[in-house]
Symmetry: C2
Subunit: 224 residues, 2 copies
DNA sequence: CGCCCTGTTGACAAAGGTCAACTAGCGTGG
DNA sequence: CCACGCTAGTTGACCTTTGTCAACAGGGCG
């Protein structure tokens, strides 16, 4: 919206690019990232694909989407990334991409293979590295939950039970109204959704715990 | 839900804690983080407060909420953080906390002042540091948008116009159906919301651009 | 033992999604 | 250069889903 009046940073040269500078370009360093272009509405990477590359946006806009099983091409848009942002950093902590990145305009990207980025970032025991790792892990953990913003209440609830029970994220007792909030609904709705899943036999529910009865059915209810 | 069956990591000692190890505890290093405790439902920090400390969770669960003007104590729960996660990292890139952190159980946290964390992380030109910085900035940019998952469609739209126009996030032309998706609504609803804001005189809208007419009214419509 | 807090259930209202028809703007090809 | 057709966006009618309000019930704690 609103035709651009503000000039965006563009990082056309590695000398002005933060990544280039951090790599020491100009002081004999060489940047592991190399320029690539993508035309409007071309894909940078696709959700679920092996995460082999990390990208840095120099120019243009990229939209991040999560299908969540949806067929609609841009259902589940999650964020827009412009110049200066990294894309696909999840490559550093997992093996597949969490979302799909598609060019919204013509874009200039800098890409690098996971191993090269890894080397560029320096020793993995370094504090900054450890912190980065931790932040990325947290981010990856949050994103699926964010995705659950779409879909009906039962779908969201089913999905939540499914990916929360393995990680046992909640040390046993996250109060139900907090859960409801986390899922973007009101406690009453959570209660109803649980009741419905229970009626279908997928789960068994009491006031203080939820037990999975029929994982198959639960997955089906989650639309997976 | 589901009484804990899986044992959570606890990082009781600095020797086993990733942060402690990255600080070189055991090899003569000293960790800048120091232990603190919080009882169930005590606050760690509050949204909007000066961001002076960064925390690391060693034991227990913390819930992150964003009021978004809401008075309800746990409306707008955003995420749950368990052992191994950092809290309040936004201190590294901004001056106030973006959300409120409240203990969900009794927790053990390690806290450190911003400056100490900064020193601990090492030279700011280091690649890992630059990447961390970038990721944090991106995160901080995304969070407000995520918050907008709550509220009526006009509120969300008003909020979006408001915080998107300064950053001019969209280089001029993010297609409207993408925006709609980003805001978690269907294009028709975005259209209606825009129409309503236009009717109230807050904005002026054509098929390809949105102009702010009356910032005052727009802010009011956004509930700010 | 009784109170209080948290969660459950029901009835109702309202917000938003769906489907369908229509229009503006833009690109393409004659 | 104009006309056609396509895509994105808009508007209306309708219906489903979810939030709201209120009454109620199970469990834990004093």
């Amino acid at each position: 919206m609103q035709r651009a009046s503000i000039e965006h940073p563009k990082f056309q040269s590695c000398f002005s690019c933060p990544v280039g500078r951090a790599a020491g370009v100009g002081q004999g360093g060489r940047c592991v990232f190399v320029d690539r272009h993508r035309g409007r509405s071309e894909y940078v990477y696709i959700e679920g694909e092996a995460a082999e590359h990390v990208w840095f946006v120099k120019r243009g806009q990229v939209v991040l989407t999560q299908s969540a099983g949806d067929t609609n091409r841009d259902a589940g848009a999650r964020a827009i990334r412009g110049p200066g942002a990294f894309l696909g950093l999840e490559a550093l902590v997992r093996h597949t991409y969490l979302d799909t990145a598609r060019a919204l305009t013509d874009v200039t990207l800098c890409g690098a293979a996971r191993a090269d980025v890894d080397a560029w970032l320096g020793p993995s025991e370094a504090p900054a590295r450890a912190a980065l790792q931790q932040v990325l892990l947290t981010m990856c953990g949050d994103i699926p939950r964010g995705a659950s913003a779409d879909g009906s209440s039962v779908v969201r609830v089913a999905r939540w039970i499914l990916d929360d029970s393995p990680t046992a994220q909640n040390g046993g007792s996250v109060p139900r109204h907090v859960v409801a909030n986390l899922l973007g609904m009101v406690p009453e709705t959570l209660s109803r959704a649980l009741a419905q899943l229970a009626r279908s036999g997928a789960i068994q529910v009491t006031r203080q715990e939820v037990k999975i009865r029929n994982p198959q059915a639960l997955r089906a209810a989650a639309g997976l």
